[in-house]
Symmetry: C2
Subunit: 554 residues, 2 copies
């Protein structure tokens, strides 16, 4: 059997200018990066007009070690929509460089449903994340430089929340002291590094409408407080203009292609833990102008990813999906039904039925946004007829179609049934509404998401949280949506609690204001913003083979 990498390398790629032409873009409207990648220029983006296509969100049940294949399904559905005569574009997020050197790395789909060039996308790609790193760290350098030269803004060096970033898994940088070595090196203070995808700059890039909006948002970033507790922004430090210059190319969406030569925009990658976790608004909007259908995905399971996609990205960008595809696998349903990973090879239709409780909860949640939903069963070779029937019976009982999709093995041809079901659903119309209005108080927004989506029996605030939220409301930030940061493995804050738990209590231990991105983060449980490398990092086996091709990255 061929590996994903072998399939990707054997791809018959078309010149990226041809892929652009299929979208109606001329060569002047793209900036090529090699022969198989390009950016769509700001000028071309500004000139897009005409009707928008339909937006399809692909999301999934809670993730398990068994794998669900959300990206694979996103790609397969996009290819299938093209096969049945729709002009469809895929929108997914970019991969983070650092983690590839820890565990074997993140491909862009799998099997016959992949986006290429896979190696470039998992390395530097078009340099967007490096630009974000530079912009973020320029602001950090300007903060310490401001203090060094006299601290005219009276920054409280104990209350600087802006850290530095690096696109690397490097635990030694989580907590550092900077400014050691004497007066020439500035004032010492404790700080640290996050991974680049966790930067607020990343979240901002993904929500910005255009360059002007980007600069506005960058200027609003709150980097810390003065001694008398007034917030200090990037604009106060005059950093917003230079940060925008560093990001001007990165804001242009990246065009690549699927194995079947259909267009894919791969752009942005906000950390799904503490940000909204979906690709950029600018790419999604461009794709909608250029296509009948846009297939996109949101990070983690539907309770985290779809919720943030709908309540944050769609709200802030004025987007409305036409339908939702909920991806499940028999294997993941069995794990949700209590089967251990080692036992997944054994047929167990009963466990599938048990695990469907998790699926059902997500179906209910998606419907609560007024959206039609279809279940995509991402087929694995070991799935048995009885197990598949168990899932289909369950879905029938919920009034939802469950479509067997074989895109992993067959490419777009294997997902044509799914594509037709999606078109039917989307044509039927949706009454999308976000879960809460802008003017609900911040704490009530948190409670609403935790009780109605995560089905908590109670939501508890650590001391000071409610006061902090009230202070932000008083400062004019009350209309922002909230971004719930919690484990992706469970509806609860206990990652081992699979299925459809109820009655659990969610504790909010910290809140953070992302004034530039435009949301308030509620942290429930531990959040890691700088990963570490494992005992035997993938970096030890990554290298070039005799032909100069990358080994060990996938």
């Amino acid at each position: 059997m061929q590996t994903d990498l072998q399939i990707a390398r054997a791809a018959s790629k078309r010149p990226i200018a041809d892929v652009a032409k299929r979208l109606g873009l001329t060569y002047d409207q793209i900036l090529p990066y090699g022969h198989d990648k390009a950016k769509i220029t700001h000028e071309a983006l500004a000139g897009l007009s005409g009707p928008e296509g339909r937006l399809i969100l692909v999301t999934a049940i809670n993730p398990t070690p068994a794998g669900e294949g959300k990206t694979t399904t996103t790609v397969g559905l996009g290819d299938a929509l093209n096969r049945i005569g729709q002009r469809a574009t895929i929108c997914i997020r970019e991969a983070s460089l650092g983690p590839n050197f820890g565990m074997k790395g993140g491909a862009a789909g799998g099997g016959r449903a992949q986006i290429v060039p896979m190696e470039d996308m998992n390395l530097h790609f078009t340099g967007d994340f490096h630009a974000i790193t530079s912009a973020h760290n320029l602001l950090a350098a300007m903060i310490d430089n401001h203090i060094h030269w006299g601290n005219a803004l009276d920054l409280d060096t104990r209350r600087i929340s802006w850290r530095r970033v690096m696109d690397m898994n490097d635990r030694a940088l989580r907590d550092v002291v900077v400014g050691l070595g004497g007066p020439a090196n500035g004032f010492s203070r404790q700080s640290g590094f996050d991974i680049t995808v966790a930067s607020e700059v990343m979240a901002i890039l993904c929500l910005a409408r255009d360059l002007a909006d980007l600069q506005d948002r960058l200027g609003r970033i709150v980097i810390g407080e003065t001694r008398d507790r007034r917030p200090v922004t990037a604009r106060d430090l005059k950093a917003d203009g230079a940060m925008t210059v560093l990001l001007k190319d990165a804001l242009q969406p990246n065009l690549v292609q699927t194995l079947e030569n259909n267009p894919a925009l791969v752009h942005g990658g906000p950390f799904a833990n503490i940000a909204h976790g979906c690709n950029s608004v600018i790419a999604t909007r461009a794709a909608l102008r250029l296509s009948d259908y846009v297939v996109t995905e949101a990070g983690f399971g539907a309770d985290l990813g779809a919720e943030k996609f709908l309540n944050i990205k769609c709200r802030l960008a004025g987007l409305a999906p036409a339908a939702v595809v909920l991806v499940a696998t028999i294997r993941a349903l069995k794990m949700n039904g209590g089967v251990a990973k080692a036992d997944l090879g054994t047929e167990d239709a009963g466990a599938v039925r048990e695990g469907c409780a998790n699926l059902g909860r997500h179906i209910e949640n998606i419907r609560s946004f007024g959206l039609p939903v279809v279940v995509a069963l991402n087929h694995f070779d070991g799935d048995t007829e009885a197990e598949i029937a168990a899932l289909q019976d369950y879905c029938a009982g919920q009034g939802v179609q469950a479509i067997l999709a074989r895109h992993w093995a067959e490419g777009g041809a294997g997902a044509e049934d799914l594509a037709r079901a999606v078109v039917d659903l989307a044509e039927g119309g949706a009454q999308f509404a976000t879960l809460y209005p802008d003017d609900l108080p911040l704490w009530d927004k948190i409670e609403t998401v935790c009780t109605r989506i995560h089905r908590a029996g109670g939501v508890e605030a650590a001391p000071g949280i409610r006061e902090q939220l009230a202070a932000w409301e008083a400062a004019g930030h009350g209309r922002m949506p909230v971004c719930i940061a919690k484990t992706q493995y469970s509806f609860s804050t206990d990652p081992s609690l699979r299925g459809a738990p109820t009655g659990h209590v969610i504790g909010v231990r910290e809140v953070r204001l992302n004034a530039g991105a435009g949301f308030v983060v509620a942290i429930c449980g531990q959040i890691m913003t700088m990963p570490g490398l494992p005992r035997h990092p993938a970096a030890e086996v990554i290298g070039l083979d005799d032909k100069g091709q990358v080994e060990g990255l996938f």
Copy 2:
């Protein structure tokens, strides 16, 4: 009068594929980055054969605040050579991103002698420096990760010399403590960040012949010592393969063009303070295969830049220049003759004559390598006939032509006389020899450069230096050339000592082994490897104008 930026923006650029075609490269042999930048592929590089053109080195008198215009002259000479019927390619180094946000930024030439696209070249360009940052910091992360997971190599955490890098002027990162925060974050130790151009990875990229040589050199990097004082290399940590993967695209030289649409390879940028300071070997070699003439430059004045170019780059790469152009300006000669910057507007032929002592010293030095030399007088509007005559008289006395060159105002047309003189010199033949043989002991190499090039009366070693050098010789590193790190403003270690001082003593206070790059650094005086931002950084005024064009960067 138009600014450099206005001239650059008004350039009539040709599609980069056309520029490549002039070099005989097909579209498949380049990787476009936008419409005006490209990389030459590894495959194309491997296929280059046929005779090599002639290599012309452009260097200068000791730099002063008046400016000399070495890059401007490099570009003007390249354009002029093309005008007189030679196929000439320009090879210069890439600009560092970080410093552009401190002081107003580094252009690529000036006036009518520029390389474009200037803005991209001063921002992310094709991402080479970001790749170097990633590769450097991956090794750093793997070091701390190795220690965290048990330290099987028995690394002495007090003797780790490998720091981290960032392409940013950020003094707060010069000295830091990493690994704070408890067991999950690793072992605490003191370390720091250098600017990316100071990375040994940068020096290695610029000296590597191909990908295999790159990986060999990366593997040889010494990152520190074990508790029993044995050196530990990047290969011991199995980091060399992954670092090579991160650098595989960056090793491909970048093709851009001059205002007159002539080809320029802009590639690599090793710190001229503690490395060899010239563009990549791979770019220079490629250009030689593709052209009759290659015009390149070396950092700082000839005593530092040309010396390192000849004794390090040419030695390690087997290159031999055909002729040297020594750039001088009337203004800089007057400063070398004792005139203050504020008084440069006043005619002073006597000061020019005085300052020529500096010029004469460099002429002697260049000749000591067996190389023919011509002086290029980079013309400024205020230069008077008497001042120009003073320079020309001096040069005539030395048996050297001094050619008035007006490329800044007139482009290549203004440097045709210079181009013809260069062709004459180069056709006359050179007997290039490095200053010292490989098998001279390391200390003797240092002494040779300091006494014969910098004309020191004595060279003193700080305690332990000679023992360290002897230890490296015993470990097999004795055949390496030496890289003298000292002020660029004077032949001495006193930056205020202009002209042609003699009898000064040069003190070597530290030596560093760059086992991967392949040279030993002798540090004489203070060396800054991480700059800081000034009180009012350029970043405060950098931004986009209404048309989306960059303001404040130049």
